[in-house]
Amino acid sequence: MGTRIVKRPKLSFMERIYLGPVVKGLGMTIGHFFGTLRDVFNWKNKKTAITMQYPEERWDFKDNFRGAPALVMDQEQRGKCVACQICEFVCPPKAITIWPTEFDETNSVEKYPDRFEIDMLRCIYCGFCEEACPEEAIFLVKEAELVHADKRDFIHDKEKLYEMGGIRNDRIMKWKNK
């Protein structure tokens, strides 16, 4: 490694006096200043301000947005989860815990989660659970703002998860054709 000497460009007098660029810089910032000011007064409907006014304006999440995981129900409002525990297995931070149980013998579907908990303080929104779910029962919904005053509220239980997930119209229906 040799040393390379970088030659500094020789500055002209005007450059050295520095005032010119200062004025230029001031011109630029004031331009933006007035641009944004114009936005505030809604003048000419041209947008300079790029920031979003969050609670009023919200980001339009894309469909593949990875928000909080939630459980979904089929068209007949029955939970799709069969408590196979694969999500529990793949979950990298071990945020998911499932307690499976079974229906009585007369039911066409044998297994369902008795309790299903996702600890949102552990969840890293990786989407592995959605990826792994063979029943298409767990999805990362567009819910990203989880605010609770109590830590325990961050453990989403089955009811909360189904409430968040809602109904999903889908081909896969474990209750049908069984």
Binding site: V82, Q85, I86, E88, F89, P100, E110, K111, P134
Partner: protein
């Protein structure tokens, strides 16, 4: 060349010398090649209906099934070439076309041969575009076995097990062709005391255990090789635990004891391990006390009763190490009356043993005497009692005749000092099973982190009584110390006992 009843053959280019009379699957196993199979089982007759063990035998035109092809000298077997794998892929495809996509709710998932072979030998895609066949699901075959006809691949292992091993011949096949379905004769409920073995035998999830059903996926579980302690047979088992709770036991192959099987009674004999009522802290005078407090109280009780005599009653559920630790305590106190309790029941010719406790022989080895049928009306200053976990108890009047009591028990027991017991899956140790075999139990879980095993507790008590005494730090060392002391264990080491157990040296000493 063949000699001494051995033949030499080539399997996948590997030369192997194997005993004559075995089949290609077993021969391949000996050279470390796994030939997939469903219907074949080493202890059941060969029916050759799954067709997944197809191998190419050079010189034979058609592919042959490995289970029904006996090795011959000079035979050249291919188990993996293109022709074999194509046909095997075909068989896997046939097996899977009508198999329901139940892996999500199937208890077998994770230890399912169909999954394993589908990954290893299947094509990974399906060309079957029709609706899968429908068969009844979730059929109860009595209160232990649940049957799912859709998942069944009709390997007939269960049929043959009940016919050939258990001898009850309860299952048969109804209908034919793709409608074939297993049925249980009579009222559709199994009666065999060995029926749950068919759950292990079932290579797929068609037969599941009512007891273990949906409790846990197997990949979350921890498996510990240990033995069954429901009777003196000491069937080798694998105990499955999760989150420090015992979930199931399945038999572990040991040709000298239980082969591949175990009785249902032994298999279901673990509920007390997870019992919520178990005590997790010693009590002294009815109040919770940490171990040191409880032990010094026990020391005071026992030493105070030395003159009036102490009755020591051991449990035949204890390990040898614990029994020797108890023996040490008795020696230090000069206890004369040392007995143990042994529950008896019914036995059969196969695996069920009439002695319903695992270690009566160990008790005798440690110098405890069988409890008399009628206890003398002698009064004692103190009772040192390790309570057997079930089936048998010391008669109440005997307990009453002792002024003070130090009791080890699983659940609460009225006494001056009550010390919690641990179960056999919570500790390492050895037991002496029927046939005078020394076998190991191994720790698979911890019921409560604060619990100490009886061996440690008794050794500490011994140290309190005799400050010169120093207990062994681990069960392995305790066993070694015991083996050095006792002629019947002479020459045995923890390693030589190993997974399959070892015979006692001087068995007659125990008779």
């Amino acid at each position: 060349m063949s000699d001494n009843g051995h033949v030499t053959l080539t399997i996948d280019g590997k030369e192997a010398t194997v005993p004559a009379g075995i089949n290609v699957i077993e021969a391949a196993k000996q050279v470390g090649i796994e030939v997939p199979h469903y219907c074949y089982h080493p202890r059941l007759s060969v029916v050759g209906n799954c067709r997944v063990c197809l191998c190419e035998i050079e010189g034979v035109g058609q592919l042959q099934i490995g289970c029904n092809t006996l090795v011959r000298d000079g035979m050249v077997v291919n188990t993996t070439n293109e022709r074999v794998s194509r046909m095997r892929e075909g068989v896997m495809e046939f097996l899977l076309i009508n198999h329901p996509l139940d892996c999500t709710i199937c208890d077998q998932a994770g230890e399912c041969k169909l999954q394993d072979y589908a990954v290893d030998h299947g094509s990974g895609i399906t060309r079957f575009e029709f609706d899968k066949g429908k068969k009844p699901k979730n059929i109860s075959w009595g209160d232990r076995v649940v049957f799912d006809a859709e998942r069944c691949i009709l390997c007939t292992r269960c049929v043959r097990f009940l016919d050939e091993i258990a001898g009850t011949d309860e299952i048969s096949i109804d209908h034919r062709g793709e409608k074939s379905q297993l049925v249980v004769r009579g009222d559709g409920k199994l009666t065999s005391p060995y029926q749950m073995n068919i759950i292990d035998l079932c290579p797929v999830g068609a037969l599941t255990s009512r007891d273990f059903r949906f409790k846990s996926r197997v990949w979350f579980m921890k498996f510990t090789p240990t033995i069954d302690t429901s009777d003196a047979r000491g069937c080798n088992v694998v105990a499955g635990t999760r989150d420090n709770r015992m979930l199931r036991m399945v038999p572990r192959y040991n040709p000298n004891v239980n082969d591949y099987w175990m009785s249902d009674h032994g298999r279901l004999h673990y509920a007390f391990v997870n019992d919520e009522d178990r005590i997790v802290m010693p009590t002294a005078g009815g109040k919770p006390a940490p171990y040191p407090v409880a032990l010094s109280r026990a020391q005071a009780v026992l030493e105070g009763a030395r003159d009036e005599g102490i009755l020591c009653v051991a449990s035949s559920y204890m390990t040898n190490e614990e029994l020797f630790a108890l023996k040490g305590v008795c020696d230090a106190l000069g206890v004369e009356d040392r007995y143990f309790l042994l529950p008896m029941g019914e036995g059969d010719d196969l695996l069920i043993h009439p002695e319903k406790a695992p270690n009566a022989r160990g008790c005798r080895l440690a110098g405890f005497r069988d409890a008399p049928d009628d206890w003398s009306s002698q009064e004692f200053g103190a009772l040192l009692y390790v309570k057997p976990r079930e089936l048998i108890e010391l008669p109440a009047e005997v307990i009453e005749r002792c002024k003070k009591k130090v009791v080890f028990s699983l659940t609460k027991h009225a006494s001056d000092v009550n010390i919690p017991l641990t179960t056999w899956v919570e500790k390492d140790g050895t037991m002496v099973s029927a046939g005078d075999r020394v076998q190991c139990v191994r720790q698979g879980m911890v019921y409560e982190p604060t619990l100490l095993t009886e061996r440690v507790v008794l050794d500490r008590l011994h140290t309190l009584l005799d400050p010169a005494f120093k207990g062994a730090s681990t069960a392995v060392l305790a066993f070694q110390r015991m083996a050095d002391e006792h002629p019947a264990l002479d020459g045995l080491t923890w390693l030589s006992v190993g997974l399959l157990g070892a015979k006692l040296n001087k068995a007659e000493a125990l008779a």
